[in-house]
């Protein structure tokens, strides 16, 4: 198993590499001025701007820029600018070796902070939103799907199927707008943002409640959007399992219906769902992005949009890479979970 995981991780490195190169190409294609937010700022002199341009190799070709960015992600390199030529071999070697490990995804020129800082804050918010929604979706969709399958063609099942069809066709941005309209009519909940202005003065529970209130709308949008599909999936799985012979056997040997469904059928029906859980993990970031933008939730999605509009290249690169990494991890987690849940599957 471990070898499998390690092998998978190794395979993903070139993928990420090529992906980042292509993305970098896309972003640098329009030849926009990355330093535009600095140009009109009197705080930055010409020399300062030239120095920044030089540091990030904006005055060099696209490949050099990319190389510089990649080189600096995990490693810190000694600054050899303006130093006297090296005398000994040891000194030369030292100048070409990294000094320490770190994570530096570049600098955000619109936020005027390192990308890692900007992203970590936004990433926390997005993960909070996504994880809460994911838990809720599962907690609701799995029981509903099971109910639908067990009571196939009953009134409840038909109603649920109908609602699911509507739910699957309801565009998330429209749902967000409608929900926000309802909220603005009633005035029960705050609109936009993650915290109120008075957040700092609140006590622990006050803070918690304030956060929860701000999250209701975005969470609802994501949850309502994905429950429908998940419910259908769970229903399908469960129906398939209920047709299996071991279920008939279980019934034939006189097990109570509850035991047949919950001990024998449900467990097996959940198996494919575990794979989906992994894929959901990978979709967490981009799934929430549009909802975030519309409900002005301070997450990665809204940041990404601004970064794209402002040509904040390193920020865009970083979000794309995080998306890619999440996807790889998600798929890996899905495969590993599946192997753990299903003894018939092994990767060795």
């Amino acid at each position: 198993m471990t070898t499998y995981i390690v092998r998978r991780l190794f395979i993903s490195i070139p993928l990420l590499f090529v992906m980042s190169l292509i993305t970098f190409g896309f972003i640098r294609l329009p030849k926009g001025d990355v330093l535009a937010p600095y140009r009109n700022d009197p705080k930055f002199s010409r020399e300062e701007l030239r120095r920044i341009e030089h540091t990030y190799r904006f005055d060099r070709s696209f490949l050099v820029q990319y190389g510089y960015w990649v080189k600096n992600i995990f490693l810190e390199w000694p600054d050899t600018e303006g130093m006297a030529p090296a005398k000994t071999f040891g000194e030369t070697l030292k100048r070409h070796l990294p000094t320490r490990l770190r994570l530096d995804l570049g600098y955000s020129f619109t936020n005027r902070r390192p990308v890692t800082e900007v992203i970590s804050e936004r990433l926390t918010n997005t993960l909070l939103l996504s994880v809460v929604s994911l838990i809720l979706v599962w907690a609701v969709a799995v029981p509903l799907g099971t109910y639908s399958a067990v009571h196939q063609y009953s009134l409840g099942d038909k109603a649920l199927s109908f609602i699911a069809f509507i739910g699957m066709s309801f565009p998330s941005f429209f749902l967000a707008l409608v929900l926000m309209y309802v909220v603005s009519l009633t005035g029960w909940l705050p609109i936009g943002g993650l915290t109120s202005i008075s957040f700092a003065e609140l006590g622990f529970f006050g803070k918690l409640i304030d956060l929860a209130k701000h999250m209701v709308v975005p969470v609802l949008v994501i949850v309502l959007g994905s429950i429908a599909g998940m419910q259908r999936l769970m229903r399908g799985n469960m129906l398939e399992v209920l047709r299996m012979q071991y279920v008939t056997t279980a019934r034939a040997k006189g097990l109570p219906e509850g035991a047949v469904i919950y001990r024998h059928a449900l467990r097996n029906a959940l198996n494919p769902m575990i794979t989906i859980f992994g894929y959901e993990l990978s979709g967490l970031l981009s799934g929430a992005a549009l909802t975030e933008i519309i409900t002005s939730y301070p997450g990665l999605g809204s940041m990404m949009l601004q970064a794209v509009m402002n040509q904040d290249i390193f920020l865009v690169m970083a979000s794309m890479m995080i998306g890619g990494v999440m996807l790889i991890t998600g798929n890996l987690v899905a495969d590993v979970l599946l192997a753990m849940a299903d003894p018939r599957i092994s990767y060795d």
Binding site: V18, P171, F174, L177, L285, L305
Partner: protein, 425 residues
């Protein structure tokens, strides 16, 4: 009736099954209505041109179509002209001017347009009769308001009509009769007006041309590429297969929403409307072809090893022949279902980009672009009709989903429902 029984082709059987699928047929019906009105009759059905604006009627609520005037008398359906004033709490409110009735007419003359892009016409299905027009004849334009009212009175206009003309702005020269008529005639806003006083209903119809067609065009492009690449890499395998599969994986690896934004960022922000349209098609096909190619490749791989393909090869058929005669037809039923089910994705993609201001730009309309005004969420409370375009997106997506679902059931050889019924019949 066994003697009338004849064998039916698979396609005929599938359509037989589809006809029994009520939701799918309902979806098909909705789609036909939407596509026909938006493409063929958009200029005819929409009461106004998409950019015909009345700034003074910004966010006018949907017109109330009345049949009784304030005295309780019955009339042919009509609307009153509306204007904004302040109530006792200094809030903006809309009031109807109940003095002049503007009857709603059908087949009236409006802006010049070309039906189907060919037949010149200026007929509009619905509109408001410009009842003040007769009073505006015989004037030498340009003209000021005062002259206008005087002239109208001399041509027999009553006090009500004169009062309405008196509401025109002071100190402005009016250059033509059409200009004055445009400013004083009440507007028929079935779904209300947008921020610039343009008719939302008309804009939805015109916007449908973009939103609905982009789904078809986008699917066509990415499906052609996906079929071609998937088919070739499945059939020939080898290095080509390896390279294309890696490319597909890479495209599918990036979260699609982020990829969409990044691609948009790579293209210039300033473009004309046609360029933007094709840019949107390009972006979505770029993302969409990979998934198609992979599935088609998988299917081709399995069909390639079937006996009849082997047989075709054994009797010396060319590769091209085998691919076009034996393999691609097998993927067709999948393709039809898949195309239907993936169109909503393209429509939603266009809406999303336009909603964020990265797609279709203002004077032109698309359903996503129309929803952009609803993004100012504190404002929606005062004019919720701005959300209506979303209903159209929803309807279209749902219809495609129902239709696709029905098609899948119909083409699924495992569902033998109709076959059995047929045997019984």
């Amino acid at each position: 009736m066994a003697n009338t029984q004849q064998s039916l082709s698979l396609t005929a059987l599938a359509f037989r099954k589809l006809r029994k699928h009520h939701l799918a047929m309902g979806g098909l019906g909705v789609l036909v209505v939407l596509y026909v009105t938006c493409f063929i009759f958009s200029d005819f059905v929409a009461p106004y041109h998409f950019d015909s604006e009345r700034r003074d009627l910004s966010y006018q609520p949907p017109s109330t179509i009345r049949m009784r005037d304030y005295n309780g008398n019955w009339h042919w359906p009509f609307v009153y002209s509306m204007s904004q004033t302040f109530d006792e709490y200094q809030r903006r409110v809309w009031v109807e001017d109940s003095s002049v009735m503007f009857p709603i007419t059908t087949f009236l003359k409006g802006d010049e347009h070309r039906l189907l892009g060919l037949i010149p016409s200026n007929l509009r299905l619905l509109g408001v009769k410009p009842v003040l027009d007769p009073y505006l004849d015989g004037l030498s334009y340009p003209v000021m308001k005062e002259q206008l009212v005087e002239h109208a009175r001399s041509r027999g206009a009553d006090d009500h009509a004169c009062r309405l003309l008196g509401k025109l702005p002071d100190g402005v020269e009016f250059h033509s009769k059409a200009d004055v008529s445009h400013r004083v005639t009440a507007r028929l806003y079935l779904f209300g007006a947008d921020s610039r006083g343009r008719d939302l209903f008309s804009r939805i119809i015109y916007g449908g041309r973009v939103s609905l067609s982009i789904g078809l065009v986008g699917v066509f492009v990415s499906f052609t590429i996906g079929m071609l690449v998937g088919g070739l890499s499945g059939y020939y395998g080898g290095a080509f297969d390896n390279v294309t599969q890696r490319i597909c994986e890479m495209i599918m690896m990036v979260p699609s929403f982020y990829l969409m934004l990044a691609l948009r960022a790579a293209l210039p922000m300033e473009m004309d409307s046609v360029q933007i349209y094709f840019m949107l098609v390009f972006i979505m096909s770029f993302i969409g072809w990979a998934g198609m190619a992979r599935v088609v490749r998988g299917m081709v791989l399995s069909i390639r090893s079937n006996e009849y393909t082997e047989a075709a090869r054994a009797i010396g058929q060319t590769d091209l022949n085998i691919i076009t005669r034996h393999i691609l037809p097998q993927t067709l039923s999948y393709a039809i279902v898949s195309i239907t089910l993936s169109i909503p994705g393209y429509i939603l993609g266009e809406s999303t980009l336009s909603l964020l201001g990265l797609g279709i730009q203002d004077p032109y309309a698309s359903w996503g672009n129309l929803l952009r005004e609803a993004m100012a969420i504190s404002e929606i409370k005062f004019h919720p009709w701005i959300l209506i375009p979303g209903v159209f997106i929803f309807l279209t997506v749902m219809s495609f989903n129902f239709l696709g679902d029905g098609l899948r059931d119909a083409f699924d050889p495992k569902s033998q429902l109709v076959g059995k019924e047929y045997e019984q019949g």
